[in-house]
Structures are given as structure tokens and as C-alpha cells.
């Protein structure tokens, strides 16, 4: 079984769960098997949030991750807490707009993504910071295709939100290695 496990963590409100959900939609539209599992707790503002996305060609057994192939740290505490989960050779994405420390692992590929700055300066909308990160994940891992994302946005951004599709597509391509 070649299940890819992606673990995304940060503060509540950073769009951590949304990044995961977008990946899940994309995988489904590419006819892959997928699960999305959020952390959950009492409704509370200011807490931490994380989610696990599993993507595979075959049915997925456990939707949980004790280790992962891709780790996304949207804030500092998440990097400290979860860095050891990443499998050797895995991809580590760090939101360097907020995370001041560097990765300690040397056996993984590390990508520093200045999400907030890129969102504000290159996309022109600070709220797209999480989509900048999603774009980086897709570009590096090819876990889903960038092309499918337009279809995803069309499904989830309906009504008045259709105007945001182009902006979000721009955000996905804003980061470059």
C-alpha cells in the first residue's frame, strides 16, 4: 500500500483544516482514495488545530498518522511538537512568516514558505496565506495536480465566492522554489 500521509498543524484560524480539506477534495476528484481527520476538542478560540490527510490509490486503512510523509508546520509550537513524526526523506514545510526557528532534522527536505508576505505582496491578499502554503505543498510533492485545484475551487466557492477562484489559483502558484 502506498498511502501518503500529510499532517498539517498550526493555530486555530490559520486555515489548517482548510488546507487539508482542499487536498482531500483534489484527491477525490482525481479518483483517489482519501481520508481527512481533524483534531477536535471543546469549541474554543485560540487553541491549536491539526489534521491528517491520507491519499492513496487503494482503500485507506487507518486515517490516523503516527508517522507522516509530509509535515506542514504553520506555527512554531507545531514544528517543535511534530517534527519527529516526519519519515526520513519526507517533506517539511515551514510557515516562515510566523515560525522563527529552523528545522532540526537533517534527513528530510525542508521548505521555508513565507506565506503571509507572499500572500500580501505577490497575491495582494493576506487572507490567502494558507493557499500559498497549499500551493507549495502541491508543487513539491505532486500529491495532487495543480490543474485539479480549479475544479476544487469551483465546487467549494459558489455563489458570491466565485470571484475568489482566480485569486486562490494565483495564490497556489505564488511560491516558487
Amino acid at each position: 500500500m502506498s498511502v501518503k500521509k500529510i499532517f498539517i498543524a498550526g493555530f486555530g484560524g490559520q486555515g489548517v483544516l482548510l488546507i487539508g480539506r482542499m487536498l482531500a477534495y483534489a484527491a477525490m476528484y482525481e479518483e483517489k482514495e482519501v481520508t481527512w481527520m481533524p483534531s477536535y476538542g471543546p469549541e474554543m478560540r485560540g487553541g491549536t488545530a491539526n489534521c491528517t490527510v491520507c491519499i492513496s490509490e487503494d482503500p485507506i486503512a487507518s486515517p490516523l498518522a503516527s508517522t507522516c510523509d509530509v509535515l506542514v508546520a504553520m506555527n512554531g509550537p507545531s514544528l517543535d511538537k511534530f517534527e519527529s513524526m516526519l519519515l526520513p526523506g519526507g517533506d517539511l514545510f515551514i510557515n516562515s512568516s510566523i515560525v522563527t526557528q529552523k528545522a532540526t532534522r537533517t534527513d528530510v527536505n525542508v521548505y521555508y514558505v513565507d506565506c503571509n508576505k507572499i500572500a500580501e505582496e505577490k497575491v495582494g491578499n493576506g487572507k490567502t496565506a494558507n493557499m500559498v502554503m497549499l500551493g507549495a505543498i502541491i508543487q513539491i510533492t505532486n500529491i495532487v495536480g495543480l490543474a485539479i485545484m480549479e475544479q476544487v475551487f469551483e465546487k467549494v466557492m459558489t455563489g458570491g465566492k466565485t470571484a475568489l477562484i482566480a485569486l486562490n489559483m494565483k495564490a497556489l502558484e505564488a511560491w516558487t522554489k
Binding site: 480539506r21 482519501v34 481520508t35 481527512w36 481533524p38 477536535y40 486503512a61 487507518s62 490516523l64 503516527s66
Partner: protein, 358 residues
């Protein structure tokens, strides 16, 4: 119709109930099942159904008692401590043979416990929980799709057997998202159709038939004994006809796991890890917890030397496993409790420990 949709478990479960013709839902907020009453509050009125946010789980189950007696297709849902509070009503439903589907999105106990996934309700859902001689029919799904399909079936089984049916899912299934195919929508019974479809239901005798009385109290114990003996054969029938399970690799396995619900998915991944190290394992996954699929254990091959029950409890199902095995094989337990989840690596490691000890 066959288009896949990415849905959160709890919303998918509510949608499945709606499509199965459920039109009455009564609930009370409790984590991790809140999306179910929330969905029902939005959607039921649109299809001519009714939602009440009850003042408690105790009220919710008794609203279900009323609606089911009146001939409605009813679902209620809660999570472990809420189900405990419903037990009075569940015993009552069973005593007067009313069909209600009860969705339990289980969490860690005892007491108020934790809001994270758990399976320590096994005893609560399979051993009655309420007083008296009765069983609940209990399904234990391991994916969102399977939960939806079991809900669809549960309404049919509940009405065929005139008995409460419990779906024992957990917080993981309720909170996660998976692509699903939504079961086709069935027409719901109209109020006019109830007397013919459910002749036992309270509809008013309209001076055309004798009055129906639904009662749970029997002041003459001889009559109660007759009554219980009268309905008991349906449980014998259920034991023969309703037990379901999934078996994986029983012929070849040296060790056979027994696990239900989301835990079975974790075990499947652990089996892959163990296979890579040359350890051959199999799995029995009960899809019904009552009746328990005893028959599955007769399919275990001669190579099997060890049985391991994997549970999110201190070992509750393990007693049914031992009973089914009739002492033929040693049974060990791998578990986590209190809302802690078990991961595949841990299952694999603890399995190796169990096998080495021998």
C-alpha cells in the same frame, strides 16, 4: 447518483437517515456528534419532518418513544454518557417493541469521560444497559460509507424486528471526512399510510378497530412472563440471521486479530507492517456486536495459534471472543483507554511482544 461526495461523518450519517425515510429526530448537544442534530435542524423541516432540540437525552429518547409508537420513522443520536442517560427509554422501547434507530458516536468513559473516540460502550450497547430481558441489535461500522449503509439497513431491521437498533460508531468516524456515495432517497411513509404499514401503531381507532394500548407495566407477573416468552423468539431469529462480519486472511494466519469499528482499520494497517516482517496475521471484524458473529471463529484455520482482541477499552468484547472460541485458543488484549487512540505501529509492536512471550 453514483457521484462521490466528500462528507464529514456526522453529516453523512444524518443525510443517510433522511434518505432512508427518517422524518423524526430528537436530540441534545453532546460532542462529538453535534453535526447530526445541527443537520437535522436544518434539513428535516424541508422534507416535512420534525426536529426537536430536547431538554435532555432522557427527553429525546422519550420523544422517540412517542413518535415511534405513533408510527413515525425515528432516529436519535448521542454519545456515550448521553446514551447512558437514554437507557431508561431504550429498555422501554424494547419492552413495547418499538423500532427506533439509535446512533451512538462513542467517546471515552466512564462518567463524563473524554470527548475523544472510545469503544468502552461495548458492554453498554450489547448488554442492554437498561433493565429487563431484551437485546438491542448493534451494528459497528468502520467507515463513513459503511455507517451510511448500515443506517439505511437499520431502519428496515428495526421495523422488521420491532426493536431498537444501535449503530455504534465513534468520534473518529463522526469527525473525519471521506468520499461517499449517498444512498438513494426512499419515499417516507405518509401519515395516511401508517395504519396499513404499521397496524400496531397509535393512530386513533376511528371507530373501525379495537383500541390499541401500548403498555410496559404488567401487574400480573404470569402475563408478563408469557409476553416476554412470546417475543423472545425474535432474538433467537436475530442471532441466526443478523450476525455479520468481515474476515481477512483467516486460512493463512498464525495470529488472528479481532477488532471492530475504526479500530479495525488501524489493525489492517498493523497487519501490513507485520506482514513485511514475515508475521502472518488475519482479522475478524464483527460488523454486528449483537448478535455477535460466533460463526466467524469456526473459520479460523489450523495454523492460528494466538487470538488478539484489539479494543479502545479495558477489554469488553474480549469476553464475547473467548465465549465464541470455547477455549480453543489463547486470547490476548491490545488496548488503549480513556479516549486515547491506538496506532498501527503500536499494535504491531505489542503483537510482537505477545508472540515472543509465548
Amino acid at each position: 447518483m453514483t457521484e462521490k461526495k466528500l462528507m464529514k461523518g456526522n453529516e453523512a450519517f444524518a443525510k443517510a437517515a433522511l434518505n432512508a425515510g427518517c422524518r423524526y429526530y430528537f436530540g441534545y448537544p453532546i460532542t462529538p456528534q453535534n453535526e447530526i442534530p445541527e443537520y437535522m435542524s436544518r434539513e428535516l423541516a424541508k422534507v416535512g419532518g420534525a426536529f426537536i432540540q430536547a431538554e435532555s437525552e432522557l427527553a429525546a429518547v422519550n420523544m422517540a418513544y412517542g413518535a415511534a409508537a405513533a408510527g413515525g420513522r425515528v432516529m436519535i443520536s448521542s454519545s456515550s454518557p448521553g446514551i447512558a442517560l437514554m437507557q431508561e427509554g431504550i429498555s422501554l422501547l424494547a419492552s413495547v417493541q418499538l423500532p427506533v434507530v439509535i446512533l451512538n458516536i462513542m467517546r471515552g468513559g466512564p462518567g463524563i469521560g473524554s470527548i475523544q473516540p472510545g469503544q468502552a460502550d461495548y458492554n453498554q450497547v450489547t448488554r442492554g444497559g437498561g433493565n429487563g430481558d431484551y437485546h438491542c441489535i448493534v451494528y459497528a461500522p468502520s467507515s463513513i460509507q459503511e455507517t451510511m449503509d448500515m443506517i439505511t439497513k437499520a431502519f428496515e431491521v428495526a421495523e422488521e424486528y420491532r426493536n431498537p437498533v444501535i449503530i455504534a460508531a465513534d468520534g473518529m468516524l463522526g469527525q473525519m471526512m471521506e468520499p461517499v456515495i449517498i444512498p438513494e432517497a426512499k419515499p417516507a411513509l405518509t401519515e395516511e399510510e401508517i395504519p396499513a404499514a404499521k397496524p400496531w401503531a397509535l393512530t386513533g381507532h376511528k371507530n373501525k378497530r379495537e383500541r390499541i394500548a401500548i403498555n410496559s407495566v404488567w401487574l400480573e407477573q404470569e402475563l408478563l412472563e408469557d409476553y416476554i416468552n412470546g417475543y423472545w423468539p425474535k432474538y433467537i431469529k436475530a442471532e441466526k440471521e443478523l450476525a455479520e462480519y468481515e474476515a481477512v486472511n483467516l486460512e493463512d494466519a498464525e495470529t488472528v486479530f479481532v477488532a471492530f469499528g475504526s479500530t479495525a482499520r488501524v489493525v489492517l494497517e498493523a497487519m501490513d507492517i507485520l506482514a513485511k516482517e514475515g508475521i502472518k496475521t488475519g482479522l475478524i471484524r464483527p460488523k454486528t456486536l449483537w448478535p455477535f458473529p460466533n460463526e466467524a471463529f469456526s473459520k479460523i484455520g489450523p495454523k492460528t495459534k494466538q487470538i488478539i482482541s484489539v479494543e479502545l477499552s479495558q477489554g469488553q468484547m474480549i469476553h464475547d471472543v473467548k465465549y465464541a472460541l470455547e477455549g480453543r485458543l489463547p486470547v490476548a488484549l491490545i488496548n488503549r483507554v480513556g479516549g486515547m487512540l491506538i496506532d498501527p505501529v503500536e499494535v504491531a509492536e505489542r503483537t510482537k511482544k505477545i508472540l515472543e512471550v509465548k
